[in-house]
Amino acid sequence: MHELSIAQEIISIAEHYYSSDENEHVKSIKVKIGKLQNVLPDSLEFCFNALIQNSKMENAKMVIEHIPIKLECNSCADISEQEGFLFACPKCGSSSITVISGNELTVSELEFEDSPTKQEVLP
């Protein structure tokens, strides 16, 4: 159930971008989740929806973008997408590979209903 702490962090990041304008509301939060992160989307959404109840973000929707595991082979330079979790090049069989995607866990976009006055606030 680390989805609960992940949902809390997502909300906390979104809160940084709120201005003092009371009419401003986050409509959607886009989150990228790599397959290697062990995050259950249903569980994350459940936690997120529970945490935003009776808050300023109450009507926000979380949109999850699933990022597949992609490998780059260090021997033949082939780039492949992995369905499972076997870390070898499907073209030449080499196990010398670099994971180029699948580890993502980021808040990528926020959609506000009204223009926020406070933009790009650093933590």
Binding site: M1, H2, S5, I6, E9, I10, S12, I13, Y17, K27, V31, L36, Q37, N38, F85, L86, F87, A88, S95, S96, L105, T106, V107, S108, E109, L110, E111, F112, E113, D114, S115, P116, Q119, E120, P123
Partner: protein, 216 residues
């Protein structure tokens, strides 16, 4: 309607604290590892056997993570090494903030090695950087040889695999060869040890590895 591109890591706050811990440990030349496994596979027993073998050679400190009780810290305390217990009260993993607070409770400056024993869980702790040098995953023969395939992220993120309870192999349906094949398919760079905390088999090899890391 306004769209803001954010691109911020969800666990960025954790990572900032983890990097602070890493810098502190590096400053004092302390080798640290995050010990991970499912509950009951022998993490605390391994820590006990490790301390017994290395106590006279190097200074070891331990941070214990559990959902409830300080039973593990009590086991380590009687061995006479600095130990701090984190009780997560239901939390399924340690995070860097908890480790920072626990570290403040032990006199760590003169340690050579810091062992962070995580909450028993092969899923949730995988993604949380605690500021350690490396992750060590422990799998016991009673759990079955398919576990690396079932919990790939954990085995992918670790650099060392310890196959524990090898003394029980005659009684369980588990092949060490299969564990190795499955684990290496997920992570070909894994360094593998086979141990028993009951007979002490393989404990010397594991301890020699720690000594090598601590002296680097």
């Amino acid at each position: 309607m306004t769209l803001i591109t954010v691109e911020r890591k969800v666990l960025e706050k954790n990572d900032v604290v983890a990097n602070d811990i890493r810098a502190k440990l590096k400053e004092h030349k302390i080798f640290s590892f995050n010990l991970l496994s499912s509950p009951g596979s022998g993490k605390t027993s391994l820590v006990e056997r490790t301390i017994a073998q290395l106590k006279d050679k190097i200074a070891i400190g331990v941070i214990e993570g559990d959902v409830q009780t300080d039973l593990d810290a009590q086991r380590i305390d009687v061995l006479g090494v600095p130990v701090a217990q984190i009780v997560t009260n239901g939390g399924c993993h340690l995070d860097a903030g908890l480790v920072r607070d626990a570290l403040a409770k032990i006199d760590y400056a003169n340690l050579n090695v810091l062992i962070i024993e995580n909450v028993g869980n092969l899923v949730c702790p995988a993604g949380y950087d605690l500021g350690e040098d490396t992750k060590v995953v422990l799998l016991s023969t009673t759990e079955g040889d398919d576990k690396p395939l079932k919990y790939p992220a954990m085995f992918r993120n670790a650099s060392v695999l310890i196959i524990n309870k090898i003394d029980l192999l005659p009684y369980v349906n588990c092949s060490v060869q299969k564990i190795k094949e499955n684990a290496l398919a997920i992570n070909p760079d894994l360094k593998i040890f086979e141990t028993s905390c009951t007979t002490d088999a393989g404990i010397s090899d594991w301890c020699n590895w720690i000594l090598t890391q601590a002296n680097q």
